[in-house]
């Protein structure tokens, strides 16, 4: 008997604005509706300033929307939620802690006992393939290893919803592809709902079940396109005809979004 799938994100008419100048407000999101089903991987794509990262922060509970409702499994999001894990664009590792200590950080904050912490950190370092770097500090790690450590840290609390804010965008192409593959492997092993912000149409198609295109400011959903590629996926799949037609549809929606 398996547990019922969890991690359903429901966003209704989300609006967010920021103060800009003395009297004006900059509207980042102008009424976003989005439902992500449990275990689904959804890529958010859109022009700069379309509020992709802002939307992720709303789901992460770091930002309260001006209007609209956000809920996970029917429970409204009213602050950072233990069911939600966020991977930032930069690794954001604490520079004075070793890799293992960084991965252990969320467990420490949550009051997990040392013995259990150490066991879980060892497993997590293995999951992302950086066991050898356990006792090194971030300044000794490559960019790819740092982002792996950041991913392991986010996975430490076993989130049902994984939010990724262009997590691999600062890495070189090869490292990025490898990390994308590993990300798919990890989410295949433990069913996780994933909401991912990306700038790359190819990355969106490779990773996601659905690609959601946001318009330029104020951000709204202008297209919601399914990616009908079977899993598990490999980079060879990116040559399929279905991919080029999906990419074409995304680019068309983006063109519309930018206009």
């Amino acid at each position: 008997m398996t547990a019922p799938p969890v991690g359903r994100i429901v966003l209704r008419d989300i609006s967010v604005s920021f103060p800009a100048g003395r009297h004006d407000r900059l509207v980042a999101l102008g009424g976003v509706d989005l439902v992500v089903d449990p275990g689904q991987i959804v890529a958010l794509i859109g022009p700069n300033g379309s509020g992709k990262s802002t939307l992720l922060r709303v789901v992460a509970g770091l930002l309260a929307p001006d209007a609209g409702t956000a809920a996970i499994d029917g429970r409204p999001i009213d602050g950072p939620d233990p069911r939600v894990g966020l991977v930032f664009q930069e690794p954001r590792l604490l520079p004075w802690r070793t890799t293992a200590e960084n991965v252990a950080y969320p467990l420490e904050l949550a009051g997990v006992a040392r013995a259990e912490r150490e066991a879980r950190v060892a497993t997590l370092l293995g999951t992302v393939g950086i066991e050898a770097a356990a006792s090194q500090v971030p300044s000794q790690l490559s960019g790819g290893m740092r982002q792996r450590a950041a991913l392991a840290r986010t996975l430490a609390l076993e989130p049902q919803v994984l939010l990724l804010d262009e997590p691999f965008s600062a890495l070189d192409e090869l490292t990025r592809e490898r990390l994308n593959l590993e990300l798919l492997a990890i989410t295949a092993r433990t069913p996780t709902t994933v909401l991912l912000v990306t700038h790359s149409v190819q990355e969106a198609i490779f990773l996601a079940d659905r690609v959601v295109v946001l318009s330029a400011r104020p951000g709204r959903v202008v297209a919601d396109l399914p990616v009908s590629l079977a899993r598990p996926r490999s980079f060879g799949d990116l040559d399929a005809a279905i991919v080029s037609s999906t990419a074409h549809a995304i680019r068309a929606a983006l063109g519309e979004a930018a206009a």
Partner: protein
């Protein structure tokens, strides 16, 4: 290879062969003494103006051996320890508040700067008048002189904490207290220790100044006695040497604590 891995923060790059710092310091000291000696020989100053290094060295040893310096040195050390401890503790708290409460900074910073602008030398007689000739006046003067550099360094250190790391901690549902202890303090420590290094040497200055304004014991008093009633100029120099060594030792202590807490990053 394992040795390199084990050391946290050690760079794998090979350091160029260099003179150990102890040897460097010894060479500088030898040069200093040689120049001093040379000045005495060339100028022909009498010992009550500029005694020779060996005369000062001999007096330093004898004054320590016969117990002339020790009680004064221990009193000054005591004043520095208490004054520094009190001043630095207040400064850490105020520095944190200045960094995190913009209102506190607007209200307090003009007064902090004004207090710092008045030379402690000018303030010492007033504090001696208020707090009497006992230890309290010295503690207050030490604490005051330590306060400013440590408070400012603490404020700067906490302000410089990366906002992105704070957002990370928030996303991990860290409590306010957890953020302070696991994130803000470790991040601000290098800057705070910059302030403590300055503060500890100033604390020695504060104690001496406080003793000048009236004391029954202390290295500051001994300086006055050696120059005045005793007219023992080699002893005056030996006392100055003791003050310098006290400053170096305390500074070294701060550096040792800093290395232990901050480590290599």
């Amino acid at each position: 290879m394992t040795a390199v891995r084990a050391g946290r923060g050690t760079t794998t790059a090979v350091a160029p062969a260099r003179i150990p710092s102890v040897v460097g310091a010894a060479i500088a000291l030898a040069a200093f003494i040689a120049i001093w000696k040379l000045i005495v020989i060339v100028s022909g100053f009498p010992p009550f103006i500029l005694p020779t290094p060996e005369l000062v060295g001999a007096r330093f040893v004898s004054a320590w051996a016969d117990g002339t310096i020790a009680p004064h040195a221990s009193r000054t050390l005591y004043e520095v320890a208490v004054g520094f401890g009190v001043g630095a503790s207040f400064a850490l708290i105020v520095g944190y508040l200045l960094a995190r409460l913009p209102l506190a900074e607007r209200l307090l910073s003009p007064y902090l700067v004004a207090a710092q602008a008045i030379p402690i030398l000018a303030l010492a007689p007033l504090l001696a008048l208020w707090f009497g000739p006992g230890l309290t006046a010295k503690f207050v003067i030490c604490a005051l002189i330590v306060f400013f550099p440590v408070a400012i360094a603490t404020m700067v250190g906490f302000r410089a904490v990366d906002g992105r790391l704070l957002e990370l901690a928030r996303s991990l549902r860290a409590s306010r207290w957890q953020i302070v202890t696991t994130l803000e303090i470790p991040a601000a420590l290098p800057a705070i220790f910059g302030g403590l290094r300055v503060g500890v040497t100033l604390a020695v200055v504060g104690a001496i100044v406080g003793e000048w304004a009236g004391a029954d014991r202390g290295l500051g008093l001994l300086v006055n006695i050696a120059r005045g009633s005793l007219f023992d100029i080699p002893l005056l120099f030996a006392t100055l040497l003791t003050i310098a060594l006290l400053g170096i030792a305390l500074y070294g202590l701060v550096v040792v604590v800093e290395r232990a807490l901050v480590g290599a990053r």
